[in-house]
Structures are given as structure tokens and as C-alpha cells.
Symmetry: C2
Subunit: 245 residues, 2 copies
């Protein structure tokens, strides 16, 4: 409902001073909310705390945000978009025909952003916030940017004849075919079932690996060479995706 200015700072064309001030205040609210996310977590995100930081009485923020859940949604979209922008930028830096290189760039961008923004990453990919249900209308688009980019890359490689399927791919259960066909249609893909199913695994595996590192599952000192561990994992995943690495 409130949305002067996309994710946060893409302030549109300057309108009236009041509208600009309003957009600025909303951007400030999102910025302050981000900080609270980092220190206290999503479940403890509080409109009163944001109001305090904004230097305003607590009821004043209701001029900008209907309630706590709407602030959470703003933060969710903000984070999805920043991650999506980071991934897009990283992928676009690699030559269009270097499919494996683009995949590696995507994976590294996800990990880098996650390590830089662990709390926001946790909001997106950690346990759901109890009592909060993201409104699909607002979060679906930004929330699917990374996976679309991933399967898009695999699809391009397939069309270019650059995919190397390992000998004897795992059989895709027939019950899955309907789901995969729907995905193919919705995203305009051409890859066969085996490739798409493997792509889904690569997608979840990438985030699984990143989540374990960000959420501290590795323990304090099991892995000290984490960059190298991730690079190895990425290389193996590229191979699962059918991309030579």
C-alpha cells in the first residue's frame, strides 16, 4: 500500500515537497528497521523502537505504515531486492556465453550478500517469523529473482548446447513431470525434466551451504578455510547443474 519509491531509495521523479519528505521518511523507517533486524531479530522488530530512533512519538509511524506486519513486508521486499540486485550485477559482469562462470558469480554473490547481511538473509531464508505471513502479491516477484536467474542461466546453456549431462542421469519420477512442466511453461524454459530437477537441487543446495555458514552450523573451528570450502562446493554444484567448471 505505501510505496512511493520502490524498494527504498529509487525515489521517483520529484513531486511535491511533501511527497518527497514522505518518501524520505519511509526510506528512513526501512533503514532503521534494518538495523533493528540485525540486533534483535525479526520476531523482536518493534514499531516503537523504530519510532524512537526516528525521533518521533510512537503513534506517528502509523502515518507511514499500517502496522508491524507491513513494516516486516517492506523489509522483506527491501532485502529480496538488494540480494537480487547484487546477484544481477555479479552475473552481468560475466560474459553471456560463459554459463559456468555466470553460475559461479551468482553463487558467490549470494554468499557474499548473506555474510554481509546475516540478519536480513535470515529473514528471507531462515525459520519463518511466527504469526507473520508474507503477502504473496508483494513478495513473490522480488523473492523469485535469484532462482529465475539461476534456471535462466542453465536454460541458456542448454539452448546453446553447452550442457554436459553426467552419464546416466537420475531418473525423474513421473509424478514430478507435471510440476516441472508447469514451471517450464511459466518461465518459458526449454530444458528437459532431468536438467530442471537437478537445477532445483542445485538451488536448494546453494542456499543450504550458505545457510549453514551464516547460521553458524559449522561450529567455531571445524572449517577455517571457508572460502575454499565454498568454492569446492560451488564447483561440484556446477557439475550437478550440467555446467562444466
Amino acid at each position: 500500500m505505501t510505496d512511493p519509491g520502490a524498494s527504498t531509495d529509487t525515489i521517483p521523479t520529484k513531486r511535491t515537497p511533501r511527497e518527497r519528505a514522505r518518501a524520505q521518511t519511509i526510506a528512513d523507517i526501512v533503514r532503521l528497521g534494518r538495523a533493528h533486524l540485525a540486533t534483535d531479530g525479526a520476531a523482536a522488530l518493534s514499531l516503537r523502537a523504530v519510532a524512537r530512533d526516528l525521533g518521533v512519538v510512537s503513534s506517528a509511524v502509523y502515518r507511514y505504515v499500517a502496522n508491524r506486519d507491513e513494516l516486516l513486508t517492506l523489509l522483506l521486499v527491501d532485502a529480496y531486492d538488494e540480494l537480487g540486485d547484487a546477484v544481477d550485477a555479479a552475473v552481468d559482469e560475466v560474459h553471456e556465453g560463459d554459463f559456468a562462470g555466470r553460475f559461479l558469480a551468482l553463487g558467490r554473490a549470494v554468499r557474499e550478500w548473506a555474510l554481509k547481511e546475516p540478519a536480513r538473509y535470515g529473514l528471507l531464508f531462515g525459520s519463518p517469523v511466527p504469526g507473520y505471513q508474507a503477502p504473496a502479491g508483494q513478495t513473490m516477484m522480488p523473492g523469485t529473482r535469484v532462482v529465475f536467474r539461476l534456471v535462466g542461466t542453465i536454460n541458456s546453456a542448454y539452448r546453446a548446447g553447452a550442457l554436459i549431462q553426467e552419464a546416466g542421469p537420475a531418473v525423474v519420477p513421473s509424478a514430478l513431470s507435471a510440476d516441472l512442466a508447469a514451471i517450464r511453461t511459466e518461465l518459458g524454459l526449454e530444458v528437459p525434466d532431468e536438467v530442471l530437477a537437478n537445477g532445483a537441487l542445485v538451488w536448494t543446495s546453494l542456499f543450504g551451504t550458505v545457510s549453514f555458514e551464516v547460521f553458524g552450523q559449522y561450529g567455531a573451528d571445524t572449517f577455517s578455510a571457508r572460502d575454499e570450502l565454498f568454492e569446492h562446493h560451488l564447483a561440484v554444484l556446477a557439475r550437478v547443474a550440467g555446467l562444466r567448471s
Copy 2:
């Protein structure tokens, strides 16, 4: 879901009535805490709420638990142990020499438990609880049961000469070798670097796949054949681990 007993209940030999009553009360506290975890999430876990459910005044629970964090630790250990028990039971049902079968059983057990106990799964593998740091002394052992079982299975397959490495395994960066050597020593393994590194990826990938499903990342209707999707993923992961499937 209620199961006064389970992990917390390994009541030793019956001691005095008072000690038995005390153990029972602690088990009740853990059981009630589990329920609150499911409805309100870890961040909102409250000693007062547990006391209410226990039918006791709020200060009374301090007889059994030093503070809120200690209750969280109890719940963490309780969940890790239940998951570990489920995995052990599932793996043990498969013939010792059927390494791939044991791996599949392990993966299915993790997923089944996670789907049955999403909130507790989220406590273990979701975003960290803000302000809470798990005491390594109490949580390390139960927290490593699954991964130990996983690499143990791979190691047994290796020793039996049953591992099939795909042609041209990904090169393990040399900086990783020290970490891998330490793990090998600590767990008494014999598998070479490539196998161990792939095992780590399989580990994180398994939980990544399960987390996406449990945490709702798949969206409402992208995948309707979720069992089949998981089976396919498991089959591919078995291959990455070097186990024929």
C-alpha cells in the same frame, strides 16, 4: 506430540520420590516448552507461559531452570536427541552393507522429522535466536549426531571399496586439506579429501533441501509432488557422495 518422556526422560534408576518428582517436572517443562515453540517460535518462548501451563506461579519454574536461556538449551538438546534417535533408528533398519540404502534412510528420516516438527527443526537449523548462544558443552554432542552418522556411512562404504567416484572429481583446494585432515583425525575416518569434501556438500545440501520445504520457500503450489522431488534430490546427492543409488 505430547510425549512426557523422550530424551529428557532417560530417568535414571528410581531414586527418592522427590527426585523422581523433580525429573518429572523438568520433563513436563520441556514438553510444554516444545508446544510453545511450535505456536510462538523460539524468540517468544516465555518462562511465564510455561509456568502458567504447568499450573504454577511464574517464580516456581526457577526451581528447575536457571533462566530462559537454560530452557532454550534444554529444548535444543531435546530436539537434537530426538532427531538423532530417529535417524539412528532409520539407518539401523537397513542392512549394514547397503551403504546407499543407509544414506537414503538417513535423508528420509531427517525430512520426516523436520516435517513433523517444523518449529523444533527451525530452532536447530533456522536463523539463530537473537541474544542466545548455545553452550557448546551441552549442545555439541547431540548436535553432531546426524553429520557423524552421515560421514560414518560414507567412510564405511569407502573402506568396503564400495564408493564410486565420478570421473574427474572436483579438485579440493589445498587450503582445505588441513581442515579435512583435522576432521578425519577427530572422527577416525579414512576417506580421502575429495570424498570428505563432497560429503560436507551432501550434508549441507540435504538440510538445504529440507529447510526450503519446511520453511515454505517453495511457495504454495510450485511443487505438488514433494515426496518425489525429495527422492530425486536424495538420489542425486547419493551419487555426489559416491554411493550408487
